[in-house]
């Protein structure tokens, strides 16, 4: 029987006379071995080093099995354990925690004998069978959190969990290029997840269509003028709402088939780069610094920057070659932004999808990702605090092949497209 938790209070409006708190992050120093856990968690995995001989999980990370000195390999791990010790920290020499006490941590006995220090969900009690999950904390470093009941209706009422995730609930979201199937679906999914307000960026608002009407029909949505290809438009919007954007979703959908030898290649690429690549840079130049400065702004903090990317950002798919190239450029810039956001508490999340279910993919074989699924999984990844999320079978397949052997994937894509 899990105890029920009181709902998280809705954030109060910021007092403009008060100082914006400086960004504090939890300790970020890790060994290279320790960083591996963060790299796994960033992709939403629960993997630990396991002994190649006795198959036992090992923690903290080591260079050899402490039972038999055999080599170790990171593998999916059983996340079930028992909570055997707990404490409530009332103070900490680390400023990040000092400001957040009381804070509960505990020791989970994983797999009968592997002690794992973990943040505790408020519903955990000593002796409980608990499930461990990995999250990236505000330093973008993986930490364990223990849960006694992952299906609890009160799961997300936990303040420590909220600190580790980017839940849209009670938060304000800007969706760029919102007049697209993905934009509309995202507005719906964010609303469903409890977002307080959604700014839907619309170019040429005088052009009425079903998407605009759908957006205007939602109580949480405010349409705002935004043309990603126009620096002034982006700056003006930032001046207007920059300080209110907690989650920014960079969506710039423009799919055209073709590689570099097709006649329209350069014209298409220019358009797409203007919107997707330079659009990203325009957003980063204006919204980036504002969000960075608000990463620790109490409960009203900026929390995530999401990029909707093609999985072919990792390796070029010649059938949509220039499209892949623009996404590759955006991915590279997103990695740069991630570096520049370090220490601010703002997460840069990349959502990779394969071909979407839309007109310009009419020659592409299924499976294709629907806008609703795309939006749902992005919201899920924000709630899970992920850094990279791969949406749909194609994206996961390409990601797996990319990780396995990037060269092989390149050759496969050059051969037959998939």
């Amino acid at each position: 029987m899990t105890t029920s938790l009181p709902p998280l209070p809705e954030p109060v409006r910021k007092d403009p006379q008060k100082k914006t708190p400086s960004a504090l992050i939890p300790p970020s120093a890790r060994s290279r071995l320790g960083m591996r856990l963060s790299a796994e968690a960033a992709r939403g995995r629960f993997r630990l080093p396991h002994c190649n001989a006795c198959n036992q999980p090992v923690w903290p990370p080591r260079e050899a099995c402490p039972a038999c000195l055999s080599s170790l390999q990171w593998r999916d791990a059983d996340a079930t354990g028992t909570l055997i010790a707990e404490t409530t920290l009332e103070t900490s020499p680390e400023l990040y925690f000092r400001e957040r006490t009381p804070w509960r941590v505990g020791t989970v006995d994983l797999a009968g004998g592997v002690p794992v220090m973990a943040h505790l969900h408020a519903q955990c009690r000593i002796g409980d069978t608990v499930t461990l999950r990995l999250f990236l904390d505000k330093a973008d470093r993986a930490v364990f959190m223990a849960f006694s009941d992952l299906d609890s209706p009160d799961l997300r009422e936990d303040i420590q969990l909220r600190e580790l995730t980017n839940d849209p609930r009670h938060r304000r979201v800007l969706i760029t290029d919102a007049r697209t199937p993905a934009g509309v679906a995202l507005a719906k999914a964010m609303t469903k997840a409890g977002a307080k307000r959604i700014f839907a960026g619309i170019g040429d608002a005088w052009k009425r269509d079903a998407a605009i009407e759908a957006l205007e029909g939602m109580e949480t949505v405010s349409t705002v003028p935004l043309d990603l290809t126009d620096t002034r438009s982006v700056e003006e919007l930032c001046g207007e709402i920059g300080g209110k954007v907690d989650i920014l979703v960079h969506n710039a959908e423009q799919v055209r088939p073709g590689g570099v030898m097709a006649g329209r290649g350069i014209a298409d690429a220019k358009q797409l780069h203007e919107k997707l690549v330079f659009g990203f840079m325009r957003l980063a130049e204006s919204f980036g610094p504002v969000m960075r400065s608000r990463g620790a702004d109490g409960v009203n903090a900026a929390t995530a920057w999401v990029n909707l990317l093609s999985v072919y950002a990792h390796a070029n798919w010649p059938a949509y070659g220039q499209h892949s190239a623009a996404h590759a450029a955006t991915l590279s810039l997103a990695q740069c932004l991630r570096g520049e956001m370090q220490g601010s508490g703002v997460r840069v999340m990349n959502a990779f999808a394969g071909p979407l279910e839309q007109d310009w993919h009419d020659q592409v074989l299924p499976p294709k990702v629907t806008a609703d699924r795309l939006a749902r999984e992005i919201v899920g990844a924000l709630q899970g605090g992920q850094q990279d999320v791969y949406i749909g079978d194609v994206a996961r397949d390409v990601a797996e092949r990319f990780e396995d052997d990037a060269k092989l994937l390149e050759m496969e894509l050059a051969g037959d497209g998939q």
């Binding site: 060994s31 923690w59 020499p93």
Partner: protein
């Protein structure tokens, strides 16, 4: 089977008065101890040919860098980064080196400075395991980790916080007489229980105060000490264990349990023969664990044992007679020497605080290095008063270094 220590003795117990914070370097504190100790023993630097060094804040220097810093030319050198176990282990290493003829007079030094942020800095890069798997959880080092150990221990054995309070309160009574103790206000069990929580179940008086200071002693042959007119103490038996009981998912016993039979057998005596005990008291729960694991009472029977004894210097079970780290302060690695230095003073009749009457034998134990979630090193020594030279003077207690501090 480990052999005995024959005519090896410990002498020249030296403490440099502690300060809460210090702008001096670790080198300064170690040198102050060395200078005081040599002066007290009537020796020149060239007379020592062996050295052990234990210090956290000496980093990035090691014992090697210190040797050059101090201008010492040595035939034998040990760097012992074993925290709270380093005092007992320094004694063991030095004794064996002398027995083997590799050194004749070994100075065992410990000391740390405590600049405003050095405690956090030391802990925030304490070990790979700590950085990867413990420090990110906010405990801020030992307090959080030992809270988890204490939480489990209290549940497992049904130990009450009052018991920890009795240990802390008795040590404070001892500290009131100890000149170097930083905490000089009497402490009652009620005050212990009412104090603010630091990391449940640990409250303010479960925790040591980080400070600057140094502790040191010398190891030599009995005849050397005799010739120098130095009162001395004999080690009867010494044990150490590293990474004992790694299979326990949370620490509820220390490596002492492995080796205690050997300890008492080699020492030729039993826990009941001890006139006082110095445990490593980074937290009262750890003192309790040492006492039971070394055989003073059954595992888990701490409530009754502590309630049934008076732990002050004049009591039925004198424990941490200087006041221990809980009341004197934790001067980094010197915390691992405090017990042994105090024991040598008590056994040679030269206590600088309250004295245990007619003390002949004592147990000193050490515990150190929370690499991840538990103390990895454990050690213990049984000591006995040696035949004292006829001309033995009281050990010097404080010298010019103290005034400078």
């Amino acid at each position: 089977m480990s052999t005995g220590f024959e005519d090896i003795v410990i002498t020249a117990p030296t403490s440099v008065a502690y300060t809460r914070f210090s702008n001096e370097s670790a080198h300064w504190w170690l040198l102050a101890a060395l200078r005081d100790m040599l002066a007290g023993a009537g020796l020149r630097p060239a007379d020592i040919d062996g050295l052990t060094v234990s210090s956290f804040t000496l980093h990035p220097d090691s014992a090697v860098g210190f040797t050059q810093h101090a201008g010492l030319s040595l035939g034998w050198l040990e760097h012992l980064p074993m925290g709270g176990a380093s005092g007992v282990i320094a004694l063991r290493r030095a004794a064996r080196a002398i027995q083997c003829g590799d050194a004749s007079i070994v100075a065992c030094l410990s000391g740390d400075t405590n600049q405003l942020d050095s405690f956090r800095q030391t802990l925030s890069r304490f070990s790979h395991f700590s950085n990867d798997a413990a420090w990110p959880y906010g405990s801020g080092g030992a307090n959080g980790y030992f809270a988890l150990i204490a939480d489990h221990y209290m549940r497992r054995f049904g130990i009450a916080r009052e018991t920890f309070g009795q240990i802390a309160a008795a040590q404070r009574s001892n500290a009131l007489y100890y000149p170097h103790a930083l905490m000089k206000t009497p402490l009652s069990v009620e005050q212990y229980l009412d104090a603010r929580m630091i990391a449940s179940p640990l409250g303010l008086f479960d925790c040591v105060m980080p400070c600057a200071g140094s502790e040191s002693f010398m190891v030599m042959r009995a005849d050397t000490a005799h010739r120098l007119g130095l009162p001395a103490v004999r080690p009867l038996a010494i044990i150490e264990r590293h990474n004992g009981f790694a299979e326990d998912p949370v620490q509820f016993r220390g490596g002492w349990t492995y080796d205690r039979d050997q300890l008492w057998q080699r020492a030729g005596c039993a826990p009941a023969d001890m006139d006082f005990v110095q445990t490593y008291d980074d937290y009262p729960v750890i003192s309790l664990m040492q006492l039971e694991d070394l055989g003073f009472f059954e595992k888990g029977a701490g409530d009754a044992f502590i309630a049934g004894h008076d732990l002050t210097c004049g009591g039925s079970f004198p424990h941490n007679t200087s006041g221990g780290q809980l009341s004197v302060g934790q001067a980094g690695a010197a915390g691992g020497f405090l017990g042994i230095v105090e024991a040598v003073r008590q056994l040679t009749g030269s206590a600088i605080g309250a004295a245990v009457p007619n003390a002949r034998r004592a147990l000193v134990s050490g515990f150190g290095m929370v690499n991840y979630d538990r103390g990895v090193c454990s050690a213990a020594a049984v000591l006995e008063r040696a035949n004292q030279p006829a001309t033995a003077a009281r050990h010097p207690t404080t010298t010019e270094s103290e005034a400078a501090a």
